[in-house]
């Protein structure tokens, strides 16, 4: 759609504002994988409630916006169980080993010109692009 980039920009600014609130308010870096991962492996249990509150906001806000956003959204998620499980495991393991994902390294890291954030972003975009080219255009499975 022609207006997709405008919504992308508006949504991006909302995401960045969320990150600014989390940083300036709570003094924490808004990284989705870190917030979730700390709850999974126990490293963030001392701050469990603010992590849970954050995640509640992430889940609930789309439901509130849904009726206002009459375009309707389809996630176009793959139905292939093996692709889903493999991808989920890779995302879970990778983001925790790299200590960040698209929000932590991408948004929060690049915005302070962090070398680690920039390098991580370059590597996950390259890996994602190569994977997609391989599995979509060469093997034709996704």
């Amino acid at each position: 759609m022609e207006t997709d980039w405008i919504w992308g920009l508006v949504g991006g600014m909302l995401i960045g504002t969320g990150g600014a609130v989390y940083l300036l308010g709570n003094g924490r870096i808004m990284g989705a994988s870190g917030i979730i991962g700390g709850l999974v492996d126990g490293s963030g249990w001392t701050t469990a409630w603010e992590r849970i509150a954050f995640l509640v906001g992430v889940v609930v806000m789309p439901l509130i916006l849904w009726p206002l956003y009459n375009v309707g959204i389809d996630t176009h998620m793959t139905k292939d169980v093996w692709v889903i499980v493999t991808a989920g495991l890779l995302v879970g393991v990778g983001t925790r080993i790299a200590n960040g994902c698209t929000s932590g390294h991408g948004v929060c890291g690049i915005s302070r010109l962090s070398l680690r954030g920039i390098v991580a972003t370059v590597f996950y975009i390259l890996a994602g692009g190569l994977m997609l080219v391989l599995f979509r255009h060469v093997l034709e499975v996704v």
Binding site: G27, D41, W49, V59, H76, I84, G92
Partner: protein, 143 residues
Amino acid sequence: MRILLSLLAGSLFGGGLFVSGMTDTTKVQGWLDVFGNWDPTLAFVMGGAIIPMFFAWRLTEGRKPLVGGAFPDLPRPELDHRLITGSVLFGMGWGLAGLCPGPAVASLTYNGVEGLLFMAAMLTGMGVAPVIGRNLDRIATTA
């Protein structure tokens, strides 16, 4: 207060992911797939998100967080094997499914059984990551 601010930040994050279309896997894969019908939306989302964050980092200088405490200790700008290996593994999964952790949470209520399965696999991956990380460290030190 910390809880309320977290809820506000999460709501802005989830709302932003929703309206930007980032919970639609075709938009993410459309950005990654340079040989397909290339979709630049993700670049606008990233750019849009970086603008407020850039100013937020400026505002941290010489200040303390609103609700007390201190700003996080920033990691030293060193590149290590974990950063590279982890990012490559994450990117592979991101490319395959078109989902990263934020949108996976945001779309939890409308991404069907597939979304729940992805979440379960991702949480499992996060659970075993510390063990895999330690093994990677061992390989890195012996190599």
